[in-house]
Every structure is written in structure tokens, then in C-alpha cells.
Amino acid sequence: MADENKSSSPPPPGNEPKPGAGKQSGSVEPLPPADKPAPVSNPAPTSTSEPKPAAPPKPGGPESAGATPPTKPPAPAAAPPKPTGPVPVAWESGMVNKLRGQYGSGIEALTCLGQNYIVADSSLTFELLQVMRDEEEFDYCVDVTAVHYPKREKQFDLVWILYSFPRNERVRVKTMIAENETFPTVSNIWPTANWLEREVFDMFGIKFEGHPDMKRILLPDGWKGHPLRKDYGIIEQDKEWVQINLGIESGQ
Amino acid sequence: MTPVATSFFFYLLSGLALLGGVLVITRRNPVHSALALILTLLALAGIYLMLYAPFVAGVQILLYAGGIMVLFLFVIMLVNIGRAEKEKQFNKQWIVSFVAAAVTGLLFVWILTKSPLLRQIAQKAPMQLPEASNTQDVGNLLYGQYMLSFEIASLLLLVAIVGAVVMAKKRI
């Protein structure tokens, strides 16, 4: 599968005119990269060459900065910029439109810092992932992970980072779930999710339904607590486990 | 070669052979039994040497002690020894077999001491076989006088090999 035509040529031609970079509203000025003549003049922000088919031109792209290439890169604003943060904007593409048509307001497709992501309702997410795999050819699940926001009502962000070999495109799918809420496993869709979900379970305590082997992967089986939760202190440990299994007072 | 301390080595080797034989049946652990059997076989090889039959001794070591017993051990090692050790070592007929063995032994002793024929042979016993040509003689006999039986025996072994393969592997 994964044909060569995508891999050998850098990004698909569709996104070349568009500078792609995040439309940072902040004052951090990107440095124009190519100021010497010899090499290929790469359009300003190569680092963010995430392909985004048919994205609308963003306002205030950095090409204005690239247009004034001094021999010395311009110093950024004298005062350290106040990070106001890039603002996510809606992500438009054929696929997104199709998905919107299918799920309506259940999903929200956004672009931030040149990267696309979809925030979906937790009830829709599994189906969405299945569709992404089977119909949209996102055949490679790069990563499954989670983020813990203890102050939120739905405490966990579950994140799937997907990549499509045929489209050479990355997308993140995010959903929110509450503590004690389970989520159906995607290890049936992408076998690679097997260990990744186990790690999420190990670190956050999120259980995946239907997972073939839902147990801890990095920490020992009898360990109590899930270390990547925000309420788990950095020097916290399962004292009891350490004392029983290692025969020492404390691991610290 | 002039023999040295013949009787000492004879008793030593036969003692070892007997000891090994007894250990084979009394040890509970099958690996120990197999090792005791190897001891017996080696002692027998020594006795063959003393009887000026070096070829038989060599074959005894090469085939029995070095080949067959290694295969024995190979199989035994894969057996669950823990279970074998818990099982009963002797079954109920041990009295019968003991009596039979004792009678046979007595019979041997009686023949050795009473039989005139054997006594005749025993008196002729110290016939010196020429060691130097022993192997050649064995070869001549096997491939001359006993050619047919030798070949039949090898055919039998071939059949046994094929049979073993067929029995061991369900699909070939």
C-alpha cells in the first residue's frame, strides 16, 4: 500500500501557495529562513509544512516577514512577546465537510499552528475513528494518549494522532471523557493501539472496553495509582508495593 | 600386551557392573537409573577389553554408552520427573519376579559348578586370542561367514527406523 508517490515528493502541491503557518496573533516574529542565495528558496515557514488540503488563506501569514529579508535576521520585538496564544480556526476540507454532514455539530474541525484536529463528542468518537480508518484511509495510528484536566468536569482528553499514508496527512482526534468513564478500544481498528491503550490505562487509569489485555504495561501489575494524573505527585509512590516487593523502606 | 593386575581389574570392573545394575532398578529417578546403566555398560566394556575383544569394547562405548544412552537421557530428561518419582516403584508381582530371578541365579551357579561340559570349557578358557588381529577377525567373520545374517540384521534395523518414524510422526 502506502505508495511512493506521496513519500518521495515532500508535501502535496495543493498547499504550496498557502503559507500554512499558524496565524499567530502574537508578536512573535518568525525568522525568515533562507537568506542566502544558493539553496532552494523554501517558502517561509518550512517547519510547519503540515499538508492541509484546501485550507483557506489565513490572514496575517508570515510571508510579510519573509518579504523583507535583511542579511541579518531581524531581531524580534525588543520586549519579550506576551504569549497570547495562537487561535484555532475552523478547518475546511472535503473530508471535514463530509464528516460534518455526517455528524453535524458533534464534531468540530480546527486548525491550530498549522496542525489539524477534530474535537468530537465522546459518543461519536469511536464511530468517527472507524470511519477515518476505513473510508478516509487514515491507516496509521501514530499515537494514543491522554491529557488530564482535573478541574474540568470531563477530566480527560483522549487524543488519537492519525496519519494517512495515501494522503500524507496528519490529524488529531480529540474527545473528552469523565473519570471512571470507559471508552471502546480501537485496537480492533489499529492493532498498534494495543500497547498504546495499555499505556494510557497505566498512566491515567482510563479503561478501554473490549481491549484484549487491559493491564498495566510500564508499571508493575500490583501498583496503585496512575502517575500521569495531575493529582499524582511527582515523588509519590506506591509505598506498600515498594516495601513488599523491593524490601526497602522507600524508593526515593 | 602383558596383563597387569588382572584379577584386581576383573573384580573392580565386575563390581562396578553389578553396582550399576543394582542402582538401575533401585533408583527412583530415571535419570539416575540411566546414568547407572551407563556405568554398567562402561564396566562391561572394560571386561571386554580384558577378554582381548577390543573391537567389541570399542563398539560398546561408541554405540551404547555414547550413542544409545545419550538418546535415552534425551528422552528421559523431557519426562516429568517429579511425577515419575511419586509413582510406585515396584508393582505387586515383585515377589514372583524375585523368586524367578533367584532360581535363575541358582541355576547358573549350579551349572557353573556341576556341569561337566562347562567345566571342560572352563579349563580351556585361558586361550590367548591374538589382540593384534581381533578387529580384522571380526570383520572377516561378519562379512564372510555371517554375511547373510549380518545383512538381515541391518535390514531389520532399517525396518525398525522406518517404523519408528511412522509411529512418531502422524503425518509424514
Binding site: P10, G22, L31, D139, I161, S187, L218, I234 | -
Partner: protein, 385 residues
């Protein structure tokens, strides 16, 4: 793996047992965590029928240090050295991935000269990593000598690292926004000399192994994995390429300034250990190509972009991945606008690649398990983090 997963895998071969009357017990063997061939503290539980592998289970985590947790309690700058300790044989690559990810979050770009230095060092590190892999892999298969050859040549790379940044292994060579150190006098000369030195050495490794009958027998057809399975299992890097997928992040989604260089992506067809070996050898040669291009063109200019002393990225999240020697190394960083990352997730190539072990060794022999662990090129520091 569940039965459903087979839909996405081309084969899920369950080791078939020979039917015999002599039914010996299945043997459960615990390989590791102390074992000469598990490359650290990997523990593999093998279910064997004689020498045949019926199934495996990897037990990992013996080197777990909670890097992701530590990251949440360090500033962005302070966390930088920690990433070197993950894949410690390719520390420079780890640092590149992390620095670029944070730079993306900050929307800063490293100056061109820094990019060139980064590319040179990263490619040197790729060669060093592959050399270490080749030596240990050959040692696992029983060929002792390549180990010493590769270590001899890897030493030259480490010398360059040491001259550049003072460290040989955990280099911490890059900083957010560029490189901290200007190249030392004679850096270009050293790198050129190294390229000239190591090019014939790679032929030397090949001479020892590529046509060696035993080596070919031990590696051809061993640890086969198809392209479909690779993608389904998320396996990346040389393993994926050896299965015939021409995919390399340096080409597919170029980072740093890789788009400026001319190089090939080697691929194999058979997806076996031998092809992976060949692919990695060609990769070393291609890396040398990149290095010699880069060192010719290295521009003058600043080596560090202007970044604030206190790095405080705006609220947001970023996923940035690079082609580490072992596969796709990704950083998913969530920033809450403070000086400390809210969450850093490392997507380690070794961890994901190791998952394919079970599939690759089912029905093979014990000796093949060793060969496959070697060919996956895992580093337990990265698997466990």
C-alpha cells in the same frame, strides 16, 4: 490481539505444533530482564514447543523513569537534557525532535546555520546508532567481529560530538531556538575526514556479512513482516522501509532543512531481517551523502534564534515528529501558557516497534527471537522512558 484485528493484518500465524505421540510439555522460558541479547532490560516470556516459539509476551517497564511526569515539573529548557536519556544511542535525534516541537509551539525558527549543524549532527548520530545496531545485532547472531569494527568507527563520531559539545552519549547538543555552541574550529574538516574515513568501512562491514552464507541463512526470511502489518502495527523506520514502504518523514514531511538535500530512501522488498540489514546499511551511506552536502554548504550566520530567556509558549498543543534512526519519534506537547509544559507525550519508535515482535516470531525458533529483537533495533531507555 483479538480476532478482529486480523482484518487489518495479512497474517496472524499461530505456531502450529507437530503432532506426535511423544507429547512433550510446552516450555515457558523467561528471557530477560538479565539476558545478553535483550539489549537492556527487556523481558520476553516465550512459550516454546521444543525450540519452536508458540507465543511471546513482552514485559517492559524495568527502565521506566516517568520522563513524561518529570516533564510536567520542569521548564521547557530544563526538560531538554532528559530527552537525551530516552534513546541514549541517538540522543541528538531526540533533542532535535524536542527542540523543533517547542520551536513550533513558540513559532520560532532556528536560523539556517543552526539547521545545517543540526542536520550534520543528527545524521552523524544516525550513523552511530546504526553502527551500534549492526554490531550488537551481528553479535546476537554470533558474529563477534563486526561489533569491534563498528565500535571503532562509531568512536570517531563520538569524538566529533565530544569536541562539539563536550559529551559523547547524552549530548544535549541543541537548544530551543537553535544550537548553543558555535562549531569548533575544524568542525568541517573533521566531518569531511570522517566521511572519507567511514565510507570504506561500511564496505568492510558488508564484506564480513552481506554474502556470508551463515549470515544470509540466519537472516533471510527471518522475522518477516508485511507492509500491511507494519502499517497496522504502527511500525516505522527501517523496519517499515524494508517491507517496501517508501516512507521517511525527512521526505514525506520535511523538517529542519532536509528538503534542501539530495538523498534516497532505501527500501527492501522482502520485509525480513536481511532486508532490514541492507536498508540500514544504505541509510548509513545516504546519511553520509547528506552530511557531505551539508558540510559543503553550511552558511555563515547566527546559530541561535532570538528566543526569550524564559520560554513561555502560548496556550496550545503541538505534535511534531522526526525520523529518528529507529522510526517516527514524535512529541505531543500541550502548553497551558506557563513555563512548564502541561503535558509532554513522547511517541517512541522503539515502544511501538517492539509490539511487532510477537507477530514476527510466531512459529519461528528461539534463535530467531534473538535475531528479531536485534533487527527491531530497540533501545529500552526509549521503550520504557
Amino acid at each position: 490481539m483479538t480476532a478482529d484485528a486480523t482484518k487489518y493484518l495479512s497474517h496472524l500465524e499461530l505456531g502450529e505444533r507437530d503432532e506426535t505421540f511423544l507429547d512433550s510439555n510446552e516450555l515457558i522460558i523467561n528471557m530477560g530482564p538479565q539476558h545478553p541479547a535483550t539489549h537492556g532490560v527487556l523481558r520476553v516470556i516465550l512459550k516454546l514447543d521444543g525450540e519452536k516459539v508458540l507465543g511471546t509476551e513482552c514485559v517492559i517497564g524495568y527502565l521506566h523513569r516517568g520522563v513524561e511526569k518529570i516533564a510536567e515539573h520542569r521548564t521547557y529548557t530544563m526538560f531538554n537534557p532528559y530527552v537525551d536519556r530516552m534513546d541514549y544511542v541517538a540522543a541528538v535525534s531526540n533533542g532535535l525532535g524536542y527542540c523543533e516541537a517547542v520551536e513550533k509551539l513558540l513559532n520560532v525558527q532556528a536560523p539556517p546555520r543552526a539547521n545545517y549543524v543540526r542536520v550534520i549532527l543528527t545524521e552523524l548520530n544516525r550513523i552511530a546508532s546504526h553502527q551500534l545496531w549492526l554490531g550488537t545485532h551481528a553479535l546476537d547472531i554470533g558474529a563477534m567481529t563486526p561489533l569491534f569494527y563498528t565500535f571503532r568507527d562509531r568512536e570517531e563520531i563520538l569524538k566529533i560530538f565530544e569536541k562539539y559539545c563536550g559529551a559523547r552519549l547524552t549530548t544535549h547538543a541543541f537548544r530551543i531556538g537553535g544550537c548553543l555552541y558555535e562549531t569548533y574550529d575544524g568542525f568541517e574538516r573533521d566531518v569531511k575526514k570522517f566521511v572519507d574515513f567511514v565510507t570504506p568501512k561500511i564496505d568492510e562491514y558488508e564484506e564480513l556479512l552481506t554474502t556470508n552464507r551463515i549470515w544470509v541463512e540466519r537472516t533471510k526470511g527471518v522475522g518477516y513482516i508485511s507492509a500491511k502489518d507494519c502499517i497496522a502495527l504502527g511500525v516505522t523506520g527501517p523496519v517499515l522501509r524494508a517491507s517496501g514502504v517508501k516512507w521517511d518523514i525527512r521526505k514525506a514531511q520535511p523538517y529542519a532543512n532536509y528538503s534542501e538535500f539530495d538523498f534516497e530512501i532505501p527500501t527492501g522488498q522482502n520485509g525480513d531481517t536481511y532486508d532490514r540489514y541492507l536498508v540500514r546499511l544504505v541509510e548509513m551511506r545516504q546519511s553520509l551523502r547528506i552530511i557531505s552536502q551539508a558540510v559543503e554548504r553550511i552558511p555563515e550566520g547566527p546559530i541561535m534564534a532570538k528566543v526569550p530567556k524564559v520560554i513561555k509558549p502560548p496556550v496550545g498543543e503541538i505534535y511534531h515528529s522526526i525520523e529518528a534512526p529507529k522510526g517516527e519519534l514524535g512529541y505531543f506537547i500541550v502548553s497551558d501558557g506557563s513555563t512548564q509544559p502541561y503535558r509532554i507525550r513522547v511517541r517512541p519508535p522503539s515502544f511501538v516497534n517492539l509490539q511487532a515482535l510477537d507477530l514476527m516470531v510466531r512459529g519461528a525458533l528461539v534463535a530467531d527471537v534473538i535475531a528479531v529483537i536485534g533487527t527491531l533495533d530497540i533501545v529500552l531507555g526509549e521503550v520504557d522512558r
